[in-house]
Amino acid sequence: MDMSLWWDSFLAILTPEVLMFNAAGVLIGIVIGALPGLSATMAIAILTPITFWFDPSCGFAMLIGVWNSAIFAGGITAILINTPGTPASIASTFDGYQMYRQGRGGLALGINVIYSAIGGIISTLFLIFLAFPIASFTVSFGPTEYFMLALFGLMMMISVSENNVVKGMAVGFAGLTLSTVGIDPILAVKRYTMDSTSLAAGISFLPVMIGMFGLGEVLNQMYEYKQSTAGSALEMLKKASAKLGRILPTWKEFKQFFRPTVLAGAESTIIGAIPAAGADIASIICWGQAKKLSKNPDEYGKGSAEGFAVSCTSNNGVLGGALTTMLTLGIPGDAVTAILIGSLMMYGMQPGPKMFTEDTGFVMQIMQLMILSNIAIVVFGLLSAKMSAKILNARPQTVWVGVTALCVVGSYALNNSFSDVLLMAAAGVVGFIFKRGGFAPGPFILGLLLGGMLESNLRRALVMSQGSLDIFFERPVTLVLMILIALTLCFPLIKKAVLKRRKAA
């Protein structure tokens, strides 16, 4: 692309108004993203009509700011109260909350800021230089590839099973089973709905996630608090929250994270560019892959700073990918880009292949706004990191009440539905029982999240092939994914065998 065009569009966004709208968007995004239940999609849907009053570059400066920072801020609650603020930060709970409990909360918050921004910037660079090749690859994804991706995501059940894989698998399959409640994706018949319309909508994933991680953790802390009248648990928590530790990673850590995070940024851009795969599955897959490739895989899920950096990078890395599909193909990669397409149309632009030639200047502005938003995230994020953690310095009772209130409000706000609040409460109790029984909630959530994608794409593929399984072996990308899955499963066995032989030799 022409350098002078870049420079012109860069000057166009370097106006006080655009910068102000961008900063406002980032701040709004931090607040909304950090509240469980309020998602980036919701924030953007509500703000979009307002932005029509502004100039397109101001409006988009705000929306892109909100989008980037809401995804980043979802990680803040994942660290502090074990409840991901948006589904994109689900993988951040694996390590983030553990780091906080170990007294490294400050570092976790810092990594969340820095690596979210790095993820966003890496993926924007991919968007700038490789948009068309990436899009032409990912658009060929059909039901068989989506099925393999979902299966790939489900492999991570093993990684998040904590210490007991059998127990992890048991709850994982329970989650998969629950995901079948609702309307059949192919035949549109009701399944296990007990004639209730609420159940016909299925067991929604977000209330369950909020209940299981948030409320479940509160119940567990209350239980442990009573047990230890000496207050050792309380002491520990207090110590953890009072002593946040340093925020910035050291140079050594930075070098250690470099390879896995750059890889995660690339992987998540590509997953984000796949039209029907989003940030949740991207961060899960990236986290799992990083664990496989890491020098210290045992730390993953127990407070590994490296694992946490990977999940932060990947959930923001998705955004550049989603923009790639939106700008080059005109199809939304997720709910947010669907809204952005709508607002581009309101500004009289038609996203799609022609936009790159007809509105080149604005396309460049969008890319530069992505970079700008990520810089704003670093500034505001680091400034507010210590402050956001201070909120939790209150007495545990206060925190419990606060978190419970957030869980109730968040699950209601999702769909303005009381049945979601009940579902959240039930999930909270189940989460508590899981915790006491030594069952990790991670696999359950993964099963519920990916069950729908797994099932509907398997059956869609079979509809297309009229029942023949050959379709899974005829498509090269599907085959490659299948081989990768097989390798992932066999890798530990091979590793063991090789080690043994080396020892023997």
Partner: protein, 326 residues
């Protein structure tokens, strides 16, 4: 002291009854004096979608006409049944309205929920959305006839994507297949966008979705629209003929309107209908529909009641036939 207390009680009682009287008076006047507070419009689909955007603009304009705040609430799930059912069960006082999609006449026949357009009084229809039978630009067929001839010669080989099982586009494609005597394999996706991605990636042969949703790819020369299923030509692809013009008797189209639960006082329905008629004239609404590629097709509340009844009858018969539902 005792006396004083007694006096105070008495004064309070008088005050209370007075207040009650005032309350009663305003209550009696409530119906013609509508609206006195904020109105809520329930959209049974997700924020940012087509119906949500239309409802938000309609709400904003309605606010201007009625002079009271109008808020939009999204209640999603079960193909719209969750939102519709919540309005059906709301107090029928006109303060809770629903966005009414074509699905409101289909859910019952699909067996998804008991709620139907019969449980509502319409205040208006705003728009219609035809279905566009779309194929890749490099596909060998240039007319609907060529496409259907191929489908006849290769039963089941033509994969037609739609935005969900039992969605209006699914019904539209199935109606076309029936009218033409061919057999399609219908591939339901989770929404129109993945279906379009499926056609772009050459995983399916054709899609039946709204013209607006394929416009970007048509403009870019990746897709071509063979026909639209609907009452009239689409403003998005004005040169493409309707199936009826091409000799196939099918019209299955999407539409969107607004309604209140049955049992709402007639005066209130009237006030909302009149206000909606004004909203329908607004330039903002018209330009939004044009931008989004929907057909501006206003109907009054009474006209819409009759139209919806007709649609309900039609789909109650058609859906079991087409999709093999009981």
């Amino acid at each position: 002291m005792k006396l004083n207390f007694f006096k105070a009680c008495k004064a309070a009682a008088v005050g209370l009854s007075l207040a009650a009287c005032v309350g009663a008076v305003t209550n009696a006047e409530a119906a013609p004096n509508f609206p006195r507070k904020q109105i809520q419009i329930v959209v049974p689909y997700a924020p940012g979608g087509a119906s949500d955007v239309v409802a938000r603009i309609y709400g904003k304009e309605l606010e201007g006409v009625l002079g009271k705040p109008v808020i939009i609430v999204n209640r999603t799930g079960a193909s719209g049944a969750i939102g519709l059912e919540s309005v059906k069960n709301a107090r029928p006082d006109g303060y809770t309205m629903s966005y009414m999609p074509v699905e409101s006449t289909m859910l019952k026949a699909l067996g998804i929920a008991e709620v139907s357009s019969d449980d509502f009084d319409f205040v208006c229809r705003i728009m219609t959305i035809p279905a566009a039978i779309t194929v890749s630009a490099d596909a060998p067929w240039n007319t609907l006839d060529e496409f259907l001839t191929y489908a006849k010669e290769n039963p089941g080989k033509v994969l037609v994507g739609n935005s969900g099982s039992g969605s209006i586009w699914h019904v539209a494609a199935a109606s076309l297949a029936k009218a033409a005597g061919v057999e399609f394999t219908h591939v339901p996706f989770d929404g129109a966008a993945p279906a379009i991605a499926g056609l772009l990636g050459k995983n399916i042969t054709a899609v039946a979705v709204s013209p607006a949703e394929v416009k970007a790819n048509v403009d870019a020369g990746q897709f071509k629209v063979l026909a639209v299923i609907g009452d009239a030509h689409s403003s998005v692809v004005p040169d493409v003929k309707t199936t009826r013009e091409l000799g196939y008797d099918v019209t299955a189209m999407g539409w969107g309107g607004f309604a209140v639960p049955k049992g709402t006082p007639e005066e209130v329905v009237q006030i909302l209908s009149d206000a909606s008629a004004k909203v329908a004239q607004s330039e903002n609404l018209k330009s939004l529909l044009k931008e989004r590629g929907f057909e501006y097709a206003p109907l009054t509340g009474t006209e819409m009641d009759a139209f919806a009844k007709d649609q309900l009858d039609q789909y109650s018969q058609l859906i079991p036939e087409l999709l093999g539902k009981k």
